[in-house]
């Protein structure tokens, strides 16, 4: 009986240890399987996440380049108190607002309506990763402000090159906006009259210091010069590129940039002018914005210089003038703006802005432009994340040397979606 009991005890012990060994073996086996299974799951999650992030992107694995496609679909509806008088299709002066587009004595052009989808654009960006270095970036962008279609049938406007450039290790090569253009612009649908805008081929180098940067560039030269009879001509006698240096500061609540432009203005018997002369021109552009409270933003700008010319207000004033004594003289012009954006709700905001440009004309002709200004007030609404619906009223005036004043009132309604 004892034997049987002890035998049962041995059997029991044997069974217990066998079961434990079996359990641990199964556990270890299962653990290995579980680890492999988790790894497999993690890989699948990673693949799914990558797929999620690659919406709108195309990865070219052979060159380690990722391509991004995007753009904007936009419609502007404009009501003008006085139009510029060009026929449908070639009436871009009615669609863009600038000091040049404030009409002088527009007879029979009162109360006109204009619609355009030409602000729509399309871009392709690429990013190529480099080993232990910053990526190489490129951008190619076009819009539809190329040669005009007509409004009679199809509005078949052509493409226009906006940007085509690459950025690598601080270097920028290609066509893009000039470094002279400020980094802070009013958030109105259209810029006030002093808008500093220039897009041209350039070579630039940018060095970043934390969130600040300093940049130098050599850019395409071009000169708009006024003849002694008061006509503006574009001369093609440039010998040196325009040189620009820009400092940019960024912090949590403010941002500003200061740009210095140095360039040679040169004329060599251009367009029946019996004159060969050159001079050094300069200009400064200071722009910035401050977040006053929450998202509300105050934007400001001041630009000016002897020879600022084509860089400000779409060549409203010349860079230089040929005097009665037949000499080339740089013309001083300046401009300023102040704008404020106030958010009523996270989707609705009010924008107000005012801007002014003025020049010291060298010639004493009564028909020359002396100054211009504009006031903007508008409301913008974002029903969806990238959808914008905007309404903006603009009043613009220009004053000539003979003290004659001309004005225009415009109402813009814009719907645009960035994809």
């Amino acid at each position: 009986m004892r034997l049987i009991v002890s035998a049962r005890g041995v059997m029991l012990n044997f069974t217990k240890s066998s079961l434990l060994t079996l359990f641990f073996s199964i556990f270890l086996y299962a653990d290995e399987n579980l680890t492999a299974y988790i790894q497999h799951l993690e890989e699948r999650i990673q693949t799914l996440e990558n797929k999620q992030y690659s919406r709108g992107t195309l990865k070219l694995t052979s060159t380690d380049t990722t391509m991004f496609l995007g753009g904007r679909v936009s419609l502007d509806t404009i009501y003008l108190s006085h139009a510029n008088g060009n026929e449908g299709g070639s009436n871009s002066n009615d669609q863009f607002f600038s000091a040049n587009n404030i009409p002088i004595e527009p007879k029979g052009e009162d109360s006109e309506l204009s619609l355009t989808a030409r602000h729509s654009k399309f871009w392709i960006k690429t990013r190529t990763q480099q080993v232990n270095e910053k990526p190489l970036l490129t951008l190619l962008e076009v819009d539809f402000w190329g040669s005009n279609g007509n409004e009679k049938n199809s509005n078949s406007h052509n493409l226009r090159l906006r940007h085509a450039y690459m950025v690598y290790n601080g270097w920028t090569l290609g066509q893009t906006n000039s470094l002279f253009v400020g980094n802070s612009k009013p958030h109105t649908l259209l810029s006030p009259v002093d808008d500093v805008f220039m897009r041209q081929p350039l070579i630039a180098y940018t060095k970043r210091f934390g969130k600040d940067s300093i940049a130098l560039s050599f850019e395409e030269a071009e000169s708009v010069i006024m003849t002694s009879s008061g006509n503006k001509i574009t001369v093609n006698d440039d010998r040196f590129p325009d040189f620009i240096v820009k400092y940019d500061h960024h912090s949590e609540w403010t941002e500003y940039s200061l740009s210095l432009l140095l360039r040679e203005l040169n004329i060599d018997k251009e367009e029946e002018q019996e004159l060969t002369d050159s001079l050094l021109a300069y200009a400064l552009n200071f722009t910035g914005h401050v977040h006053t409270s929450n998202d509300n933003t105050l934007t400001f700008g001041l630009v000016g210089g002897k020879g600022v010319g084509r860089y400000m207000a779409t060549s409203f004033f010349p860079s230089a003038t040929i005097t009665k004594e037949n000499k080339l003289q740089a013309q001083f012009s300046w401009g300023t703006h102040l704008a404020y954006e106030h958010w009523f709700t996270p989707k609705v905001r009010l924008n107000i802005a005012t801007g002014k440009v003025e020049t010291n004309n060298i010639l004493t002709l009564g028909t020359l432009d002396k100054k211009a200004w504009s006031e903007h007030v508008g409301i913008q609404y974002n029903p969806l994340k990238k959808l914008l619906l905007g309404l903006e009223y603009i009043h613009g005036e220009r004053l000539l040397e003979n003290d004659k004043r001309y004005s225009v009132d415009r109402l813009y309604i814009r719907g645009s979606y960035d994809f």
């Binding site: 991004f68 962008e141 950025v167 893009t176 980094n183 958030h187």
Partner: protein, 146 residues
């Protein structure tokens, strides 16, 4: 000399006391609330970069990177605050809530690390989804453990 040592020691003690007081002030929930509002504001500004006038799309991307750097600082503040809040709310949360809070705080820290990697590798397209994830962590935390 002895007076100088005594006054200096007192000064150091007082300063360290004040500093400690300032530190203690920082861990109050109001500070977390302010930082949270600051982050919401920056996220809103980030979303609205799409409507602003920039030199080009690459310039807009650079601005997104700059804004993200600012947001990383704020998210790190929130992570730091969450550690302090853990101590602050030890007595007020049960074990399940405490664990849930720690998990969410760790998630937030992970997202901050992810944002830093994205900025270094210039992966601008992944910033917005990551900010959405941070936003959802904040919302979950506020909803579950408010």
């Amino acid at each position: 000399m002895n007076y100088f040592v005594a006054f200096t020691s007192m000064g150091i003690l007082l300063f360290s006391g004040c500093y400690q007081h300032l530190l203690e002030k920082r861990v109050e929930p109001t500070t977390h609330s302010q930082t949270s509002t600051e982050l919401q504001t920056m996220m809103h500004q980030f979303d609205n970069l799409i409507f602003q006038h920039f030199q080009s799309e690459l310039d807009r991307d650079q601005k997104r990177i700059d804004y993200t750097k600012d947001m990383i600082v704020i998210v790190d503040k929130l992570v730091e605050n969450s550690k302090n809040l853990q101590k602050f709310s030890n007595n007020q949360l049960n074990n399940i809530s405490q664990n849930s809070f720690i998990t969410l705080a760790k998630d937030l820290e992970q997202k901050s690390k992810k944002l830093k990697k994205l900025v270094i590798n210039y992966k601008v397209e992944e910033i917005s989804p990551t900010l959405d994830e941070i936003n959802s962590i904040c919302k979950r935390c506020h909803a579950e453990l408010h």
